[in-house]
Amino acid sequence: MKRNPHAGRQRSGGLSLNVFTQDELHDIHLGTLEVLERTGVWIEDDEPLDIYADGGCSVDRSTHIVKIPPHIVEDAIRSAPAKVIHHGRDPKNDLVLEAGRVSFCNFDEGIMVIDPDSGEHRKPTLKDVADIARLVDALSDIDTYESAVGAADVPGETQCLHNTLAALQNTTKHCGSEAVSAYHARKLIEMGAVVAGSEEAFHERPMISMGVCPVSPLKLTRDCTEVIIETARHRLNDTILSMALSGASAPVTLGGTLVVHNAEVLAGLTLAQLTERGAPVIYGSSTAAMDLRFATAAVGSPELALISAGATQLARQYRLPSYIAGA
């Protein structure tokens, strides 16, 4: 029997989740634009207020509320690059991030650890940071290292620098870091330049990126905006990650939760693009539900699975790389 070749046929070529139809994505997008335009976001610091104002947003200096017109948000979404690379100290660990490509990293950032030898539940040390980075370096399918735990045995004021130093010594994979101010961001960049050999070499292949979290609902505090501005100026990958909680800091319904979540991420993304058009931004979500029976964050819950799948689809719709919570 002859089986001649088919003319061009559609193949799935893989499995994916589709939580929303195009119409539903559009409804969430329009809801988000309405929130950003009419309700606005609270911005603590003056410098980002200036940047939003210069970019054409409506800024109320007395209330610190910034209202962002839809065309500015949509322009920011388009100007953020669709593809970014998380460089490793060793180029074989360079990782391409773009909508639709799936990769994995460790969870970021724990404040306690289970001791691998004794099983004791205790505060993490710098040795734990080093050990976890070494573990990530050895595990073939964990693609990048993110600040897994914060060392409790170093000064809080410089903890993120100590964490990153320990990580850089123990993995040649990309190191995601938690800068808590522009000062810390600049110090991390200085450290990256030393590892790379020069500031130019670091900007060519930055092995460090940073991440920030807005405060739900709809607030971008100083630490968050300082790091967004600093990373944008250096064109360093910055993950803007909302941690809204359904029922507490966001509506109890998951659709409404995604609107608040999306508004926060896009407000941060807009700041990055108004600071430096084309700055690489990663769309982040650790948004979850609050279990209203116990007032705890239900992280390993079906709600988180749905929110994460929905947030991923939003990022994909925007053609942005995403960084989304597992459980």
């Binding site: 609902p217 659709g255 409404g256 609107v259 209203l292 029976r293 819950s301 699975a305 749905l306």
Partner: protein, 128 residues
């Protein structure tokens, strides 16, 4: 089942039931309409309110997932009530169900006829 389907484990099935409920919750998806996007509620709360005290939160509260075996309390509360692991709780639940659960019995006449069929088969096959 464990070992590729060779061995049945009671606790495993009870855990699977919990996971199945979570999967069904996911499969039902996220409803998107004016009632669930709550744009007006979001505007009312703004940057400094909270959603806990809203009527809508009360109204939709019971749409949240409610696991019975997975423990969502904080570590201290979990430890204070024994700190058992999931497998232990699932085993207890399985033993409890097997001991106490009484499904609707068969009609006695139906049962008698069914038993007669099985007994007749035993005789026919020569194993009675």
């Amino acid at each position: 089942m464990i070992e590729s389907g060779v061995t049945f484990d009671f606790a495993q099935l009870v855990m699977d039931n919990e996971f199945a409920r979570m999967i069904k919750y996911c499969v039902a998806g996220i409803q998107v309409d004016d009632g669930t996007l709550m744009i007006d509620d979001i505007a009312r709360v703004g940057s400094f309110g909270d959603f806990l005290s809203l009527d809508s939160t009360y109204a939709f509260m019971r749409t949240q997932s409610q696991p019975s075996l997975l423990d969502r309390r904080v570590r201290d509360d979990w430890k204070a009530s024994g700190g058992s692991d999931l497998y232990t709780r699932a085993s207890e639940k399985a033993r409890e169900i097997v001991a106490d659960h009484k499904p609707e019995p068969l009609d006695p006449h139906v049962l008698k006829r069914l038993q007669a069929i099985v007994e007749a088969a035993d005789r026919e096959m020569g194993v009675a």
